[in-house]
């Protein structure tokens, strides 16, 4: 993963200054994630959505309200039926956050691995002792290449 791609993801992510708290709260619930999965396949009415779940229609309605308020689904009333469809943009914004940090941590663990290998090759350097507190260390980076 090149630095350019990583920057692109980060920039896209911080463009969306809007609060993603509601989105993350919404997808934290497994029933709501299942509802989202259903709606990605195709739009559905509230009745259709509720059918496979062992909870009341009322409970499903509450979940749908949370999803709607988070901007993850759209609702349209046609006759007596409420038709729900997914709003992919908000989900993509949340996904960008996870994409960024997946790459970030993979790279940090690459660096950790190199660090551990380098340390093992220098047995004269003492291993870290008991947990240290409040130390300030400035370490110059190895430079642009990685």
């Amino acid at each position: 993963m090149t630095q350019a791609v990583l920057c692109a993801i980060f920039n896209r992510m911080v463009e969306y200054r809007r609060d993603l708290d509601a989105v993350f709260a919404a997808v934290a619930d497994p029933t709501r994630r299942a509802i989202l999965a259903t709606l990605t396949r195709k739009p559905a009415t509230v009745t259709e959505i509720a059918r496979p779940f062992p909870v009341s229609l009322n409970a499903i309605s509450k979940h749908l309200m949370v999803l709607e308020r988070a901007g993850l689904i759209r609702r349209k009333v046609i006759g007596r039926e409420h038709h729900c469809s997914i709003e992919p943009k908000r989900l993509r914004q949340a996904a960008a956050w996870f994409d960024y940090y997946r790459i970030f941590w993979e790279e940090r663990l690459d660096a950790l691995e190199h660090h551990l290998v380098a340390r093992a090759a220098r047995p004269d350097v003492p291993a870290s002792g008991p947990l240290r507190t409040a130390l300030r260390v400035t370490v110059p980076s190895r430079g642009a290449s990685k």
Binding site: L20, A95, F98, V117, S128, L131, R132, L135, A144
Partner: protein, 151 residues
């Protein structure tokens, strides 16, 4: 995209087999010099790390880049050598929201398996309960000095 969304939109989980003992891996996560060596994404030119490694202790990792600085702060939630380290993680990259990183280290013969989980709190209230650390200490100090100034 959403077929795997179940977990994908809740958390990042990374697993890695590392050529070191659990003690060595844990030490690398709690040693400011090791942390500074590992925390240098692309355009960073210098990294500074201050770690107060104890439950409720704070850390700060400042990555200085060419065009901007990347400041990361947090509070340790669990410190259980050599197996587990949990800390909050807050930075511009998390929209200054508190998130949670869990590092678990398992023995695999002469090597170790590291499992890193990075997740967002489901609600801002849940995040607040973990923020503690500098916020509380700074508040108490401010009160103390304010009292002193009035005497």
């Amino acid at each position: 995209m959403l077929a795997t969304a179940g977990e994908a939109y809740n958390r990042v989980v990374i697993r890695r087999l590392l050529p070191a003992t659990r003690e060595e891996v844990f030490a690398a996560w709690t040693d400011p010099e090791s942390i500074a060596h590992c925390m240098y994404p692309g355009d960073v030119t210098r990294t500074e790390a201050q770690l107060d490694v104890r439950v409720g202790g704070s850390y700060r990792i400042l990555m200085k880049g060419k065009s901007q600085d990347y400041d990361h702060t947090g509070v340790y939630q669990a410190v259980e050598p050599p197996a587990k380290l949990v800390f909050t993680w807050t930075s511009k990259g998390t929209e200054n929201k508190t998130t949670l990183v869990t590092v678990e280290i398992f023995e695999r013969g002469a090597q170790s398996e590291l499992v890193l989980t990075h997740e967002r709190f489901p609600t801002p209230e849940a995040a607040k309960r973990h923020e503690g650390g500098w916020g509380q200490i700074a508040g108490k100090l401010a009160d103390y000095f304010a009292q002193g100034a009035n005497n």
